[in-house]
Amino acid sequence: MKLSRTSFALMATLLAGTALPTFANATVTVLGWPGGSEETALRATVETYNKQASDADKVELLFFNREGFYDKLQADMAAGSSAFDVNLVATYSLGRYAPYMEPVDLGADAAKVFGESVLKTMQFDGKQYGVPTDLSLHFMYYRRDLIDALMKDDAAKKTYGEIAQKYLGKPLQPKDPDSWTWDDWAATALYFTKQVNPDSPVRYGTVLQMKNLLFNMMVFQSLPRSYGGDWMDKDGNVTVDSDAYKTGLELYKKLYDAGSSPKDSLSYEYAETNAAFASGQAATALQWNAAAADLTSTEKSPAVAEATGIVAPPAGPDGRADHIHGLGLGLNKNAKNKEGAVKFLKWLATEDAALLYARSGGSPALSPDVVAKVAKERPDLVKLGEFASKYGYVMTGATSAGALPVYELQAKEFTGYWSGQQSLEDAFAHTKAGMQDLLKK
């Protein structure tokens, strides 16, 4: 092939262009949580901040994939990366990243905006390491129209009772979702399963997130917790092989095997669960609160938005439990522009910024006075605060440096049991041995 002079010159320019460094305008780089409502809200909030900030303080956002996010962050920070000035932190990984971060003083007003208990989700060794941007817990989403119809139909109630007796061995009757126990939820899920009840108006009774992924374990955790489950007892012994965990794991498997959740549930996480519920083919879903904005939006979920009800996770013998998990932004020890970064973090902790973040789709846990100002647009945030204070919990040992690997381990072993690759006893034996090792460190 002959190259003309012009095409040769063009190719040379292209090659040279790829080797040149890119020029960034912003001087504060913020590494955020990618791919969800958190990203949308942070983008909108930063846009407003940049309008008022001087050129030297302008913020540029950086996002990478959720998959392996914490691992990449750890590798970057351990290597002393200065590619970002402000980075994401989470309650469960604070101990892991604190050595590479610097505490930041958010000022006295921060406590008025978020409340002391929420600020604590970003504290390690008594020092504030970040601004709490989002509080994550779980809601039980359900289809109000389906439940209402069930409650009014005597024949349906009879079928419901028969299904509950057959699958759960208990004579249950339909109930208002806000007073569900896990058995009530399971019976409802089975009733709305086509494979169990051919008359069901939807294909599935629920959507279980069963992918081998640590976040899915956070969702699952509240079931055994409401039966009294914990990772460790007072003396530091690992108690994951308790009856509470056994009950929870068996219930998930029973529902999956009965066809109450989509067949591919073993590869489902946040996005797949949202898609399944939004399709109108699932009656319930235990899902992150961050999904509330999408599932109740007539634009994004037209099939279910009007009929989506939200309650706290069902109750067990020990009452209700809701796994809380805080996300926030903190200061990288190796930040190039610490001054600009601290300015941004302080601004983010003000009432105006928190309200803007909430209005843009984020899920900050705000003090009652502040949340009242967005209650109309974001009723789910009122629920978020209420559920966090009433049912929020953290497993014993779940703030240690080994916490994330524990979730990873559980994800692998529990999904191994759900998929039928190993017995419950083996799953417990492997999980217990691994947890003893991880939590000992």
Binding site: Q74, L266, S267, T415
Partner: protein
């Protein structure tokens, strides 16, 4: 460097070859090679040495710069780990199955489409397109395509047959991953085979045709033997790629329920990042390196003897 024969063979004297180094002296040659050797030592040698040290050390993210030597415990841990062996088995099966499928389909397409492509070379472009997509994107794409409520394939299966299989459940995940990998990389094998097929001189085929060989016999006895080196090379390149698979599997199923789709690369990644067991992860990668070296060295020797 020139290879020049002596003034021609004389009767009874074997031809002697002389290497003429007149253009570049030995010292100059070494000097020219120094930057390359320096580059290789720095970018390949240094990480290799660090890896070897880490593999016999106790090391964490906090002590990356000060590992403590602790003997061969990491190697023992890896070799006693049932997950290491199950992930090695996954990678081996995956590598052999995908390489075989890609080569067979690629060969069929190369020979079947050759007459068409010689007239319309522009058709090569769409056939090559899958190679342009990053494997991780392919994984994400199929996560959407195969999703029961968002994907087109389950949608039409439900519409036509009233049901759709679970593409990513424990029974089908492996098959789905093999199909996804094969669909993406068959064009690579096809491209190599098509080039090799086009390079076979037409007169050989014409001669055999005149001798009465059928099209099938021409393929069997003329084309395939002449394409053999390409077939073998393509198979091994695809096998190596399949064996070390990471991106699309990780994006599609993660390490799978109970670790059922953990390839060796995913095993090393998880040991390193998820467990923070840096020594164990590096020891596994050294075992993998040694095994690969033995296989490649064996192949090289076979090739040297002209058996390939």
């Amino acid at each position: 460097m020139n290879h020049l024969p002596d003034a021609g063979p004389r009767p009874g004297v074997r031809r002697v070859w002389r290497i003429d180094m007149a253009l570049v002296t030995r010292a100059e040659g070494r000097m020219y090679l120094t930057p390359l050797v320096g580059f290789l030592l720095l970018f390949l040698g240094f990480p290799a040495i660090v890896n070897l040290i880490y593999s016999v050390s106790t090391v964490t993210f906090e002590t990356l710069r000060s590992p403590v030597l602790s003997g061969f415990g990491n190697y023992v841990a890896v070799l006693n780990d049932r997950e290491f062996w199950s992930s090695a088995w996954f990678s081996l099966r995956f590598g052999i199955l995908t390489a075989s499928a890609e080569c067979l389909i690629g060969l069929f397409l190369a020979i079947f489409l050759a007459p068409l492509l010689s007239k319309r070379p522009v058709l090569m472009a769409p056939l090559m397109l899958p190679l342009m997509v990053a494997p991780a994107m392919v994984g994400l794409m199929y996560r959407l395509v195969l999703h029961e409520f968002a994907g087109p394939i389950p949608h039409y299966l439900f519409e036509w047959f009233g049901d759709s299989p679970a593409f990513l459940d424990i029974n089908n995940a492996f098959r789905t991953l093999v199909v996804v990998e094969t669909l993406q990389w068959t064009p690579f094998a096809f491209l190599l085979f098509y080039m090799a097929y086009s390079a076979i001189p037409l007169d050989v085929r014409e001669a055999s045709s005149l001798d009465g060989a059928s099209p099938f016999e021409i393929v069997r006895w003329i084309d395939l033997p002449l394409m053999k080196p390409t077939l073998v090379i393509a198979f091994f390149i695809r096998f190596i790629d399949g064996f070390r698979v990471f991106d699309n599997v990780y994006a599609l199923t993660g390490s799978g329920a109970g670790g059922s789709t953990t390839s060796l690369s995913i095993y090393v990644y998880q040991a390193f990042f998820k467990e923070g067991a840096i020594g164990k992860a590096v020891a596994a990668s050294v075992v993998l390196f040694v095994a690969s070296f033995i296989v490649l060295h064996g192949l090289n020797r076979l090739a040297g003897r002209g058996k390939l």
